[in-house]
């Protein structure tokens, strides 16, 4: 194998790929060849680095130089200066990496220094399309150990002892789940990797699959050995083409090397993995709906019991684990349960990956030990809200979760603390909101999502969420009365306790949590017909400020003739007649019309 003195890592995650990082990589390769450096410098496309805000990202090792917001016309200079002459091009570096006149490497930057990478350990470090790079990072060592040195019972015991909890949102202990399926006798059992990451604003699983697909495959094989399953399915969203492609490559390579297939490590254990594509149904993240979908049916959930561990896919005992959960498994097998429990909180050991998004400076993917406070995540890692706006709340758990306000920002994050606050861990989406976001509108947004995604099987979810949405729409349009708030709350509690599956049971959470922490905002909409954040357009009024020069452009645009004023004099909008179409604001050349 060729040894290179320097490596150029180009992020090939979805975020950076969207900003044409593939062209940047190509230009690096061309220029390096031109300069005759191709035997000394290697260019690799990796998985997500995490700091998507600064993409496209390029990191040059061994220095760990972090070039952010890369542009194709910067490539030549980096090759000439950095790779040829050994002089780091300071002006293209990520701002923070040149603090105090000293150059910081990637891991010294605030965004990364507070993180602990277990599930993401290989993301942004290895070429996910090359199994040898994974193996060089101790890949398939855990599988080898499990198959040759451990009994299935021992494997389950280690996972149980580690107290790893399901990272898909529920937080159910993984080891316990496995131990339910293991003793069931059947001619066939299945392992399913749930990669149907549907929460809007969550992209942890996608990044693991794109950046380190072999870790997931290895873990599935280990799980298969533990419960006695010889077949695995990865159920992945069709919206993730890069992840699907890398999984296909990974499965092919693992089969060629004999790490999947028949008689792995000559242990007599067979395990095969197949990819199944979802087709855009959020409810398929729920395990019984997911299995129905793999069976080729409408993805509708069913009653439990029987639990999948007893009767799952095609009626056979089945274990369904989330991508991130699985990505932890090989590390637990190699390093042991004690190591895993050495970080994180007591009841939620290990780390959790969060997708930071919304009104935050450092949008991206972070992996932190459980028990880290929200403040550290949002301010130290995330860099706070942009444009000096005040932090208002953070939404966790997507459509199943709730909002956490500034008052609780010192909460230490784990499964239980978030649930206590009326939110939930969920799969790990963390959307930050500032003073400009209306919480009623956010609740309406999530309900709209649930209404569209409800599978329609059970009445509380199908009918109830629709009624809730109608009330929320009335509130945002200023048509609601105070008794609607009580009705909303009652309905929410009923839906929560009577729905069939997790989707319906958690659908009211965004409403209940915003009602709990932002009742005053709801009341402002209902009583004063006012949206304090200035988001709900039906409650906003257009008005003309002193910037008006009296050009009469707006008068000519207004379809209802509600603007009056003489040429070169301040104009006025008749609020009674205004239909709030916004045509005047668009027409005004002086930005004199405001909406508030």
């Amino acid at each position: 194998m060729a040894i290179y003195r320097s490596h150029v890592l180009v992020c090939g995650g979805t975020g950076c790929a969207s900003s044409k990082s593939d062209l940047i990589k190509k230009r690096f390769e061309e220029k390096i060849k031109e300069m005759n450096l191709d035997k000394e410098v290697q260019v690799i496309s990796t998985g997500c680095f995490g700091l998507c805000e600064e993409g496209p990202i390029v990191v040059v090792y061994p220095e760990g130089s972090f070039y952010s917001k890369m542009q194709i016309n910067r490539v030549d200079r980096i090759v000439e200066e950095h790779l040829y002459k050994g002089r780091i091009v300071r002006e293209f570096l990520y701002e923070e990496s040149i603090a105090d006149q000293k150059l910081k490497s990637l891991n010294q930057i605030d965004f990364y220094s507070k993180q602990k990478r277990v599930a993401l350990r290989n993301c942004g470090l290895i070429n996910p399309e090359n199994i040898e790079e994974y193996i060089a990072r101790d890949g398939y060592l855990a599988l080898g150990r499990a198959l040759t040195e451990m009994t299935p019972e021992e494997v389950i015991k280690v996972v149980k002892d580690s107290n790893l909890r399901g990272r898909g949102g529920g937080g159910f202990p993984t080891g316990a789940k496995w131990s339910f399926a293991a003793p069931n006798k059947a001619d066939q059992k299945y392992i399913i990797c749930n990669a149907d990451e549907g929460d809007p604003g969550a992209f942890m699983d996608r990044s693991v699959l794109e950046g380190d697909p072999h870790a997931v495959l290895e873990a599935m094989a280990i799980a298969g050995y533990a419960i006695g399953a010889s077949k695995g399915f990865v159920y992945v969203r069709a919206e993730y083409p890069i992840a699907v492609k890398r999984l296909e490559i990974a499965i092919g390579q693992a089969k060629t090397m004999g790490l999947l297939g028949k008689n792995i490590f000559e242990s007599g254990f067979d395990f095969d993995v197949e990819i199944r594509l979802g087709a855009g149904a959020f409810v398929c993240g729920e395990e019984t709906a997911l299995m129905a979908s793999i069976e080729g049916k409408r993805g509708m959930s069913r009653n439990k019991p029987p639990f999948p561990a007893v009767s799952g896919l095609f009626g056979k005992p089945t274990i369904i684990n989330n991508v991130e959960t699985l990505a932890n498994i090989p590390q637990i097998i190699i390093n042991g349960a004690k190591w895993f429990k050495s970080f994180g909180s007591e009841k939620s050991p290990g780390t959790k990956v969060f997708a930071l998004g919304g009104k935050i400076n450092n949008t991206g993917l972070v992996e932190i030990p459980m028990g880290t406070s929200l403040r550290e995540v949002i301010y130290d890692i995330g860099g706070g809200c942009p444009n000096g706006k005040a932090f208002k709340a953070v939404q966790t758990g997507g459509p199943s979760g709730g909002c956490i306000t500034a008052d609780y920002i010192d909460t230490k994050i784990d499964f239980d603390t978030l649930t206590d606050l009326g939110s939930m861990m969920g799969s790990g989406g963390m959307i930050v909101m500032d003073e400009d976001n209306c919480m009623v509108d956010i609740a309406r947004f999530f309900l709209e999502f649930t209404v569209e995604e409800s599978c329609g099987k059970c009445t509380p979810c199908r009918e109830g969420t629709k009624r809730m949405l109608e009330i929320l729409e009335d509130i945002t349009q200023g048509k609601a009365v105070m008794s609607d708030l009580d009705k909303l709350e009652k309905l929410a509690n009923n839906i929560r306790s009577t729905s069939l599956c997790g989707l319906g049971q958690t659908a009211p959470n965004p409403v209940l949590s915003t009602l709990r922490y932002f009742r005053d905002e709801y009341e402002a909409h209902v009583l004063d017909k006012r949206c304090p954040a200035g988001t709900c357009s039906a409650l906003l009024n257009y008005s003309i400020t002193d910037n008006c020069r009296g050009c009469t452009k707006c008068v000519r645009q207004c379809p209802v003739g509600c603007i009056t004023g003489k040429v070169k004099e301040l104009h006025v909008i008749d609020q009674e007649k205004c239909i709030k179409c916004g045509a005047c604001m668009e027409a005004c050349p002086f930005d004199a019309i405001v909406k508030k």
């Binding site: 998507c52 594509l277 993805g299």
Partner: protein, 163 residues
């Protein structure tokens, strides 16, 4: 646009679909992949194609139709040359993707789910595209446009009209 598809004109596509179905292991729940394959071939799932799938797989037509209409990715209508998807994920939504969508509705003069008369554009409000760092985001075909402001929309659309 024409919704009934000419079976004679699409013979090779039907043959390819038929060959695909024959390769599948029937015990392993084949319908989803088959519909994915069919949509890849035809661009959408017209009723004739669903009937064909039903006959070949021996899965009742009602079930095929049920699955085809359950999942948002399967489309029973033909799509325009370019699908314009506006990300309505949470990260984009809190960064005002609604305003971007409103502007697209104005510029294209169609509402969500519709196709322009010239058959060029289909407008969709999509689920999270996963480029939350670039929010708000739209996708036209395979190209992603990030950190958008509504006023940039007309220019972007115009560039596709000229193609």
């Amino acid at each position: 646009m024409q919704k009934v598809i000419d079976i004679k004109e699409n013979v090779t596509k039907f043959e390819e679909l038929s060959a695909y179905i024959e390769r599948q292991d029937e015990s392993q729940g084949v319908l989803m992949q088959t519909l994915h394959k069919a949509q890849e071939l035809f661009g959408y799932l017209p009723i004739e194609v669903q009937k064909f799938v039903s006959e070949k797989t021996k899965i009742p037509m009602a079930e095929v139709y049920g699955v085809a209409t359950f999942y948002t990715q399967f489309s029973l209508e033909p799509k325009g040359k370019y699908t314009v998807g506006v990300c309505m994920g949470t990260a984009c939504y809190v960064k005002s993707s609604q305003l971007v969508l409103d502007q697209l509705i104005k510029t294209l003069k169609i509402s969500v789910g519709e196709t322009t008369e010239d058959g060029l554009f289909t407008l969709e409000a999509t689920r999270c595209l996963g480029c939350c760092g670039l929010a708000p985001v739209i996708m036209i075909g395979d190209s992603v446009y990030g950190k958008l402001e509504p006023k940039k929309i007309p220019e972007i659309i115009e560039s596709y009209r000229k193609k």
